[in-house]
């Protein structure tokens, strides 16, 4: 039997840099095939070439035994290749039906609405075709993405990190749908770095590292450790949870009935010497919480206390002067200004807090010294001596913005997604620095979607769901399953 898709020697060069080099990949009809690799291993580049969004520099693609040239997503779809993107490629201002119609040649929204209803019922992906995408939840948006693919009756469905936005329970429902599709003969190419779910779902796997293929295997016969070792290239040190001393210092950050945006009545106290984690899938109110904490969105004075001072109305600068520091989730354009040099990016958050400005004049030398310290202490690497922030890699920029705040030795540090899109080495550096800061007496609050990370870092853990925060519990007493239920909004789970 000929393979559905056979890729050989596929290569993509960006300038001198090979994002993918000589990749071979074979997928049969109905096969559930995983594509594994760390960030930057070349997974996205590979599937973008298969989906026609990138043109290969070299290599060939055979579809059902025929040599094909996939010149664009349109060609891919015509062949029967569908893709669900990690960052949704939906049109917010358009309705569900309009979004689906755009992906089907010649379709008009009004005429395909009945079919959307039909298919959504059949695969238990309930959705109203007349609703605007803007008004949908994250989970619903993913359903629209999947529906859009299914209506094209694909032979191969590419899923790019689909569970990163889902609760464990939502993910289970997705796996059921995918298994059913594969039973009907649809091949699935499943991209992930979550090894457990790959083992549960997939029957074969291709592992990439540094743009090259390093192994193919049957994930059911591997252990997560053995696959992780293949992905990283050496045995990985498991995140070992530090033992919590059980002793807590004074309350340094206190939220009292915080209401802002979609946040509802949030209470939380973070003491000196502890790391508190906030778990939750994307878009449950983390952004509103971060904005309120930084002071970008002022609230009633008593709702936020920093070092015993009521600071709900205080500006970010005043909060920094009181000893707080912040690292928002988005590096580009929020934590850092990409078109400015690194010393200027120090100035961004330190101008008054670290006295880099005197009488309105910038102390250029002090600013540069700061920048040099962060670069050497956190091993921030760059191609040139005076780089702009935008030219650093994601991991290095993250080390820079985290390091910038940690080196201030703040009494309170609030950090969101500390290791998002960061390579394992840099992630280890960042996590270690956060723990060390807490050990030195600071109150550290970590907001993250990465449960593994939170379990490793946090002394106590709370879950944010639909703008509400569960009451924090000691991490030792929690199981991943219970956190998953809380993430899905089952607030009244019996302890």
């Amino acid at each position: 039997m000929t393979a559905l898709l056979q890729v050989s020697g596929l290569t993509k060069l960006f300038g001198d840099f090979a994002a993918c080099r000589g990749i071979d990949l074979t997928i049969r009809a109905g096969e559930r095939h995983a594509l594994l690799g760390e960030n930057g291993a070349g997974k996205s580049t590979l599937v973008k070439m298969i989906y026609g969004a990138l043109a290969p520099s070299d290599g060939k693609i055979q579809w059902q035994g025929q040599l094909v040239s996939i010149d664009g997503p349109k060609v891919a779809r015509a062949l029967g290749i569908g893709m669900v993107h990690q960052h949704f490629s939906l049109f917010d201002a358009l309705t569900v039906a309009e979004n689906v119609a755009l992906a089907l040649p010649g379709a008009m929204p009004r005429r395909i609405a009945p079919r959307i209803r039909e298919v959504s019922k059949a695969y238990r992906l309930e959705i109203d075709p007349e609703k605007r995408v803007h008004d949908l939840s994250v989970g619903e948006k993913q359903r629209v993405e999947i529906l859009r693919c299914l209506l094209q009756e694909p032979r191969l469905l590419i899923m790019d990190e689909p569970t990163s936005v889902l609760t464990p329970q939502e993910a289970d429902a997705l796996f059921e749908t995918l298994e059913r599709l594969s039973g009907e003969g649809v091949a699935i190419l499943y991209i992930s770095h979550r090894l457990a779910e790959v083992r549960a779902l997939c029957e074969s796997a291709t592992i990439l590292r540094g743009g090259e293929l390093v192994a193919t295997c049957d994930p059911r016969e591997e252990t997560p450790d053995s696959m992780a070792a293949l992905m990283v290239g050496h045995a990985v040190e498991k995140l070992v949870r530090r033992s919590s001393s059980g002793e807590r210092g004074p309350a340094r950050l206190k939220l009292d009935g915080l209401v802002s945006g979609r946040l509802r009545d949030i209470d939380l106290t973070v003491h000196g010497g502890e790391v508190v984690g906030i778990a939750g899938v994307a878009g449950e109110g983390q952004n509103a919480l971060m904005a309120a904490l930084i002071g970008e969105e002022p609230v009633a004075p008593g709702m936020i206390e920093i070092e015993g001072q009521k600071m709900g109305q205080a500006s970010p600068t005043e909060r920094r002067l009181a000893g707080a520091a912040f690292v928002p989730e988005e590096r580009i354009g929020h934590a850092a200004v990409t078109e400015m040099a690194l010393p200027q990016n120090i100035l961004l958050s330190h101008h008054r807090a670290e006295r880099l400005v005197r009488g309105g004049w910038i102390d250029t030398r002090k600013m540069r010294n700061w920048s040099d310290r962060v670069r050497s202490d956190f091993d921030v690497r760059s191609g040139s001596a005076k780089p702009i922030a935008g030219s650093l890699s994601g991991g290095n920029l993250q080390k820079f913005v985290v390091g910038r705040e940690i080196l201030r030795k703040p009494g309170v540090l609030v950090v969101s997604q500390p290791t998002w899109g960061v390579d394992p080495g840099a992630a280890a550096v960042i996590r270690e620095a956060l723990v060390r800061l807490a050990e030195e007496g600071a109150a550290v609050l970590v907001i993250s979607q990465d449960l593994e990370e939170l379990f490793a870092l946090a002394d106590r853990l709370a879950v944010i769901h639909d703008g509400s925060l569960s009451s924090p519990e000691t991490t030792d007493s929690l199981t991943a399953e219970r956190v998953g239920l809380l993430m899905a909004g089952a607030a009244e789970v019996a302890a």
């Binding site: 664009g72 997503p73 349109k74 060609v75 049109f91 917010d92 201002a93 358009l94 755009l102 008004d135």
Partner: protein, 299 residues
């Protein structure tokens, strides 16, 4: 009253034509601040052709063509060279002011025949509605056509899609740059027609900078209409009514110096912008999300 309503429909036409074109461009995600310049080139080209050939048909085509060429210049710089759209639009306006002055220097003060109007002797309502020239009726048809195109055709859906999220559009295989180029060209064609209307019908004369800010008012109209074609109509009538103040104000006993009456449309534009940006924002923003942003396909 009858004369006022007829004059109102006439004064609304150039605004309506230009605003309809700009609305389509903006829905595709492109902000072209060069409307004033495109209108001026449309006006002078139409006048020059009418004056030299006597043919109004050719003149109208010349006006549309001039707007189209100006828009092509914008498309090249803003969409192909990825320059800042606001700066490019300003350059287009400045260039249009200059070039129309240069082209039109021999035509200043020359007379031409006005664009022919229907002559229907019926009731007052009939005269208000049926005593106009071809461009007045065309402006209505273009507006309705634009409404149908945007909301009921697949091509219109594609255009709205790239205006909402060009990255997603590209991922679906939509030709973002091509769609935007066509939308900008349509905008230029309509602005050219709006200019042609000024020099062929509104005041059948050519004068330097005769658009007097109408291109900018058309831009404001699109905001005022919250990017909905049919609302443009009411906006254009409202502004035309205000413009007519300077001619009818004295008759109506408004004892203000003429300069103050002439300020009315500009002040009305500002007030309209304030009111519309004040309106409680609905759950989703009405502004095309990608407006003014450059897009380059990575392949």
């Amino acid at each position: 009253m009858e004369a006022f309503l007829i004059a109102l429909l006439i004064a609304a036409t150039p605004l309506l034509l230009a605003a309809t074109g700009e609305l389509v461009a903006e829905r595709s995600g492109v902000l072209n601040l060069g409307v004033e310049g495109m209108m001026l080139m449309g006006a002078v080209s139409a006048f020059a052709v009418a004056f030299s050939t006597g043919s109004h048909t050719l003149a109208i085509l010349a006006g549309a063509g001039a707007g189209l060429i100006m828009a092509a210049l914008f498309a090249f710089i803003a969409l192909f060279c990825l320059a800042n759209q606001m700066a490019t639009g300003l350059a287009l306006t400045i260039f249009g002011i200059g070039l129309s002055g240069l082209v039109g220097q021999d035509f200043v003060g020359q007379p031409i025949d006005r664009l022919a109007q229907l002559q229907v002797e019926t009731t007052a309502i009939g005269r208000v509605l049926l005593s106009h020239d071809v461009l007045v009726y065309f402006s209505f048809m273009a507006l309705i056509g634009t409404y149908v195109f945007l909301n009921h055709t697949r091509a219109g859906l594609m255009l709205r899609a790239v205006g909402d999220n060009h990255t997603a559009g590209h991922a679906l295989g939509l030709q973002v740059r091509m769609i935007r180029t066509l939308a900008v060209l349509f905008g230029g064609l309509m602005a050219g027609l709006g200019g042609a209307y000024l020099s062929l019908a509104y005041t059948p004369l050519w004068g330097e900078e005769m658009t007097a800010g109408r291109g900018w008012i058309a831009l404001a109209l699109v905001v005022f209409a919250t990017w909905q074609p049919i609302r443009l109509l009411f906006g254009a009538w409202l502004f035309a009514a205000v413009t007519q103040l300077q001619f009818y104000g004295q008759d109506w006993g408004i004892a203000l110096p003429s300069q103050f009456l002439a300020m009315a449309p500009y002040l009305a534009t500002i007030i309209a912008l304030v009111i519309i940006s004040q309106a409680p924002s609905r759950s989703r923003s009405v502004t095309p999300a990608e407006i003014g942003r450059s897009f380059r396909a990575e392949r």
